[in-house]
């Protein structure tokens, strides 16, 4: 402790250089902390948008392969399954120049409220959807995009099911872009193209009564269709979303690689500062050795300088990251629900500790080479060179 004032004075020898280095380290540590929030943040976002009791059942071969529509009844009979409904991709296009700009699925109107309870569709909208053959529940995001409202008639041209059909908007689904149609209406219309109608579906969503029963229910569903014409692969909604947005996994890897590169950059920045600081003090270091500072002590004080500087930068950077995410969280609180997931990016205590620890390691690593070089020099040799 008695060397601390000496170390501190040396640290502030070139205030501008110390400030710039600490600033560079602070920004880098803030960036590392923010990047570190992303894997957990993305996970939280997925949890925000998904239910832990909903299962997706689709063909094992992939989402684009159809399953027999008869599978729905069998899935509904599995113990624990409260309700299930099919989603059949219609591929509706409103304006040709936009292409498919929102997801449109045919489904059973009577089960939407149960399977997707968390969508919070108003009861009267669900009732209207059940009653209206060409009714459609439309996501708030798509409604806003095209300026539609309840009661409007909208004509969509199907790219997957090649029919141009008119739909009446009877309800709104908050926060999502989906355009949900009555399966029966599509089925009837499709019979003009194929007398058998819609005998297939793309996916079945099943709601299980208890999160603990999700795994057994998935196993039982897949066992039901084992060795049948289309085998199934069941997965939780979260897993489905993760696979659907497969790039998220890649993104996390990229984030971690960038984090490592940023850490390496700050080692170089800090090492350069430490190296300059030691190089310009060879004469003083020789004097310190002459008056009795041994190698270990000299090495310790030099390492302490780079470590204290990096530590200060690290604490500043961690505080900066904490402040930025807190501001983002507060700013999104009063805003639309769609922005609320931004609050998922939280600088946790663990991330703060990791950030400061990284700064500590950076400080020590950056000081090792120049400090070793300085302490290994023979004092007589240095004095011969200097004087």
């Amino acid at each position: 402790m008695k060397f601390l004032p000496f170390i501190w004075r040396n640290l502030l020898r070139n205030k501008l250089r110390a400030l710039l280095t600490a600033g560079a380290i602070a920004l880098a540590i803030a960036l590392v902390c923010l990047l570190r929030t992303m894997p957990d943040g993305l996970n939280l976002m997925l949890e925000y948008f998904t239910s832990n009791t909903r299962i997706s059942v689709h063909a094992e071969a992939g989402l684009v392969y159809p399953m027999p529509y008869a599978y729905l009844g069998k899935v509904r009979s599995v113990p624990g399954v409260e309700a299930a409904s099919t989603w059949t991709w219609f591929g509706g296009v409103f304006r040709q120049e936009d292409g498919v700009s929102f997801p449109s699925f045919a489904t059973e109107p009577e089960t939407v409220g149960t399977v997707f309870e968390d969508w919070e569709v108003p009861k009267e909208d669900l009732e209207a959807f059940r009653r209206t053959r060409n009714g459609a529940l439309v996501g708030e995001m798509t409604l806003e995009k095209y300026g539609w409202k309840r009661g409007d008639l909208v004509t969509l041209e199907g790219e997957v099911i090649p029919l141009a059909l008119e739909f009446r908007i009877v309800g709104v689904i908050p926060n999502i872009p989906h355009f949900m149609l009555q399966r029966e209406y599509i089925d009837q219309a499709f019979r003009s193209l194929d007398p058998q109608g819609l005998s297939w579906t793309g996916m079945i969503w099943a709601r299980v009564d208890d999160a603990a029963r999700v795994e057994p229910a998935m196993a039982e569903i897949d066992a039901l269709f084992q060795n049948s014409e289309v085998e199934t692969a069941s997965e939780t909604e979260k897993s489905y979303m993760k696979n659907f947005f497969g790039m998220l996994e890649g993104l996390v890897v990229v984030i971690l690689v960038v984090t490592a590169l940023v850490a390496l950059c700050i080692v170089f920045i800090a090492a350069n500062t430490a190296s300059m600081s030691v190089r310009e003090r060879f004469q003083e270091l020789a004097i310190l050795k002459a008056i009795g500072f041994n190698r270990r002590l000299l090495f310790g004080t030099l390492i302490a300088e780079s470590t204290v500087l990096a530590l200060l930068g690290g604490i500043l950077g961690a505080a900066l990251a904490l402040g930025l995410t807190s501001v983002a969280r507060e700013a999104t609180e009063g805003l639309d629900n769609t922005l609320r997931p931004l609050a998922s990016f939280v600088v946790t205590q663990a991330i703060l500790v990791q950030g400061v620890f990284l700064a500590l390691v950076v400080g020590m690593l950056s000081g090792v080479v120049p400090s070793l070089g300085a302490t290994r020099r023979s004092v007589a040799e240095t004095l011969r060179e200097v004087f």
Partner: protein, 232 residues
């Protein structure tokens, strides 16, 4: 106090093999003020470094303050220097980020003294060199002579038996050089220190007890200073 027996020092400088000292034997009694003189490259500074424990001889024996320096490790040598030897260099070499008191206190950081004791001892040393009132001045606020006096205070603060000074007047004007030589002489007279000084300054001869002449790494016969004989 200082006994060097058949000491040689050779080293490599680039492609050149340098024989800095050739079988030098030197004896300096406790409480004497000795000068090492000679032309540039004669080996004065090398001899000073060896007797102060800053460098090791290629051969020969060095005994200082009763310790055979040849048997000491690097850490032991550092410890030896911190307790037995005080250094004064030509260019003062004060630490620019510390004030005069901080510079004088520096060797005491290696001791177990408390902060208050270190401060008190540093102020005493500054009083001895006549700079008590300049204790809180930074080196760049002091004149060359004052900086060298601070360096002398730093050399004596831990009360070593030996003071070694390498060209202590080399960077000073005539008036300041005389002050520094007088101060070194006082350390020998009033505090019983053994002082060994390397110098080119012929005025130095008037202040020292004995002069050892070196030439090309060889120690010529020592002789006592006339003024010292007169003074004693």
């Amino acid at each position: 106090m200082i006994d060097l027996v058949e000491v040689s020092r050779e080293y490599q400088r680039g492609t050149d093999h340098v024989k800095a000292l050739d079988r030098v034997s030197l004896h300096v009694e406790r409480g004497r003020f000795a000068a090492l003189m000679g032309p540039s490259g004669s080996g004065k500074s090398t001899l000073l470094h060896i007797l102060a424990g800053l460098d090791r001889p290629s051969s020969g024996r060095v005994v200082v303050a009763g310790r055979d320096l040849g048997g000491l490790s690097d850490d032991q040598l550092a410890k030896f220097r911190s307790t037995h030897v005080g250094f004064v260099f030509q260019f003062f070499n004060l630490i620019p980020v510390l004030d005069a008191r901080g510079n004088v206190e520096l060797p005491l950081l290696l001791t177990s003294l408390s902060k208050a004791q270190r401060r008190e001892q540093a102020e005493t040393a500054l009083r001895v060199v006549g700079l008590a009132e300049r204790a809180s001045h930074a080196p760049n606020q002091l004149s060359g002579g004052e900086q060298q006096r601070v360096a002398i205070a730093r050399a004596i603060v831990s009360d070593p038996e030996i003071i070694v000074a390498d060209e202590p007047t080399g960077d000073l004007d005539a008036a300041n050089a005389v002050e520094i030589l007088s101060l070194l002489r006082e350390l020998r007279q009033d505090f019983g220190k053994t002082v060994v000084m390397v110098t080119h300054d012929q005025r130095g001869a008037e202040y020292v007890d004995e002069i050892h002449q070196l030439d090309k790494g060889v120690l010529l016969d020592a002789h006592s200073s006339a003024s010292a004989e007169g003074a004693s």
